[in-house]
């Protein structure tokens, strides 16, 4: 177990180093960071001021040293400037953190609460109406572009039927505004859970020990949920990483379509305005979350499945 954790930790750290190197070199490829410091009126800087800025920003040092300073700045919470209005990024991010977390957490919960039982039932009652519905949901989730479903939902529920608000939390945050974005964001991970739990459950329910349990006369409910489900749930856990990747790209789609005031929409606006500093920081933030979550999931998985822990 210890060896596994150390190995896995090493990969996580490599991933973090990898993304910081990509983002750092990308942001240096675009241009001189001093351009941001130029006053917007007047005659700009003279040569002395320009050089002074270079040494203040450590631009006169070797590239790896600059990288070190850049990382240190970020760790100290100094995330750089938003190109759009030349204000610090950090306070804006904290403001936008809540909406993104609310939306993605509720979508994730919905995906698990609906997807996992649906997968189990769909496997147990194979070829029933429920199974077909579950499979249709799964196929839809994997074949429909999330951003387009968002637009369709706005068209149907907000424009034609007038049941729900067109979007954005705006003033007076209401649970009503959360409904559409949550369902649409949850669809893709939900489809994943249905498919994985269903196929894991089908494998398990066909195994010898399930037959033994049935032969012993164990109640069907116990066979399904205790003997079957507890073993079937391990495999889908490994795909939590994929689920999270889906949630990240899904948030980008849903927050854009619904004008949701979150971090993902901030990143998309940065793409539209060529606002690279913002995009870079958001990418780093999401990557850290992604890497940490993947690490925790893998450790949990190893803990639950002795074949990995001891293998």
């Amino acid at each position: 177990m210890k060896r596994f954790i150390i190995r896995r930790l090493f990969t996580s750290i490599l991933a973090l180093v990898g993304v910081t190197v990509i983002v750092f070199s990308m942001s240096r490829m675009v241009g001189d960071p001093r351009i941001l410091l130029l006053p917007q009126q007047g005659y700009g800087m003279n040569q002395q001021e320009w050089d002074a800025a270079a040494s203040r920003l450590h631009l006169d040092r070797a590239i790896p040293v600059q990288y070190g300073y850049w990382i240190a700045d970020i760790l100290r919470g100094n995330l750089g400037m938003d190109l759009a209005d030349r204000t610090p990024i950090a306070p804006k991010l904290t403001q936008k953190f809540g909406p993104t977390l609310t939306l993605s957490l509720s979508a994730w919960l919905l995906a698990i609460v609906v997807g996992v039982p649906l997968g189990v039932l769909s496997a147990v009652k194979r070829n029933s109406l429920l199974d077909y519905v579950a499979r249709a949901i799964a196929i839809g989730g994997q074949s429909l572009p999330t951003f387009w479903v968002g637009i369709l939902a706005i068209l149907l529920f907000a424009v034609w039927l007038g049941w729900l608000p067109v979007g954005t939390m705006g003033e007076g945050f209401a649970i009503r505004n959360l409904i559409l974005p949550t369902i649409i964001l949850a669809w893709l991970p939900l489809a994943g859970y249905v498919r994985l739990v269903r196929s894991a459950m089908l494998d398990i329910m066909d195994s010898e020990y399930i037959k033994l349990a049935r032969a012993k006369g164990v109640v069907e409910w116990t066979v399904i949920w205790k003997h079957g489900f507890r073993n079937a749930i391990i495999a889908p856990l490994t795909f939590a990483g994929l689920t999270l990747a889906g949630l990240i790209s899904g948030s980008i789609a849903v927050e854009t379509v619904f004008s949701w005031p979150g971090i993902a929409r901030y990143a998309v606006e940065a793409v539209w305005n060529n606002n690279l500093p913002v995009l870079a920081i958001v990418t780093l933030l999401f990557t850290v979350a992604f890497v940490v979550a993947n690490f925790l999931v893998d450790v949990l998985y190893a803990y639950l499945d002795p074949r990995i822990r001891l293998g």
Partner: protein, 297 residues
């Protein structure tokens, strides 16, 4: 993928049968028809499309589809904000999407399969490095890295193909490597080595055919995702730049006009959905037919 597959002997209800089902039994007729139709549209796009995809006509701004009250046969699926014909753009979009996804997939397959063959056959340090690179790459949220690269390099057709290839290659490395690990201990490989076949010959003549089915199945399961990602990046303005008729970009064109001209966004989305769904069905079928062990992917 190293999960154990549980195959009960003499089971009267086998859920996984490793016996290959016959080619035709579960052949998905409707998805194949849709896909065949789309490929024809893509190949003959300039002949079929009623208008050139970039031709704007201010008289037809936001023209509705033919079945609505003000619709006309000139604009069967309506027109967009600057009067471009939606149907023509959707047809040319099929050409663009399928071509971009296909080129990216082939690049990803070639790179991924080569790395997988090398990694599995040689083992040791090379294997360790390649496996690590794949692990690290899979540990990054692809869509954001793609956005950063698109903003820095500038969105273009070439950037798009490169980004999709970067998305496509990883499963080929992992699965081909795993296959090669088991294939290389077979006797026929040992005999080839003894008779003095060169390493290149062993890799290409003796190991590559053995992983061919796996590669085909993985490729068919992957292409739908590539098309979805292409349309998403184009929707976000980080993909194929306008005025090219990319489905994703067309949906984004209509985003601000959903109230007044829903057809701008709705039809390209239907095209994406039908394409991706057909490809997913065909991929599932190909997997069941050629390589049922890949079921859990």
């Amino acid at each position: 993928m190293s999960q154990s597959v549980n195959v009960p002997i003499n089971s009267d209800n086998p859920t996984i049968s490793l016996k290959r089902p016959s080619f035709i039994v579960r052949w998905p007729v409707i998805p194949s028809t849709i896909l065949g139709f789309l490929i024809l549209l893509a190949i003959f796009a300039p002949l079929i499309a009623p208008h050139p995809p970039l031709e704007a006509s201010l008289a037809d701004r936001n023209a509705p589809p033919v079945w609505s009250d003000e619709g006309s046969w000139n604009r069967i699926l309506g027109a967009d904000v600057i009067g471009r014909d939606i149907l023509s753009r959707v047809i040319h979009g099929a050409r663009l999407s399928l071509l971009v996804a296909f080129v990216a997939l082939v690049s990803g397959v070639v790179v991924g399969t080569t790395l997988g063959l090398v990694s599995g056959y040689f083992g040791g340090v090379i294997d360790e490095i390649i496996t690590r690179i794949v692990d690290v790459w899979l540990g990054l949220p692809f869509i954001l890295v793609a956005l950063v690269i698109a903003v820095v390099v500038g969105p273009s057709l070439g950037t798009m193909v490169m980004l999709l290839a970067l998305l496509a290659w990883t499963p080929f490395v992992r699965n081909v490597r795993a296959e090669v690990l088991s294939l290389k201990s077979r006797e026929y490989v040992a005999i080839a080595q003894i008779t003095g076949a060169s390493t290149t010959r062993i890799l290409i003549r003796h190991l590559l055919p053995g992983v061919f089915n796996t590669v085909m199945v993985l490729a068919s399961l992957r292409i739908g995702q590539l098309i979805l990602t292409e349309s998403f990046l184009s929707f976000l303005g980080a993909g194929i730049p306008p005025p090219a008729p990319s489905w994703g970009a067309m949906i984004s064109d209509g985003l601000n006009y959903v109230r007044d001209a829903w057809w701008i966004s709705v039809f390209p989305g239907i095209a994406i959905f039908l394409t991706v769904m057909s490809l997913n069905f065909l991929g599932d079928w190909l997997r069941d037919w050629l390589d049922p062990r890949l079921r859990q992917i």
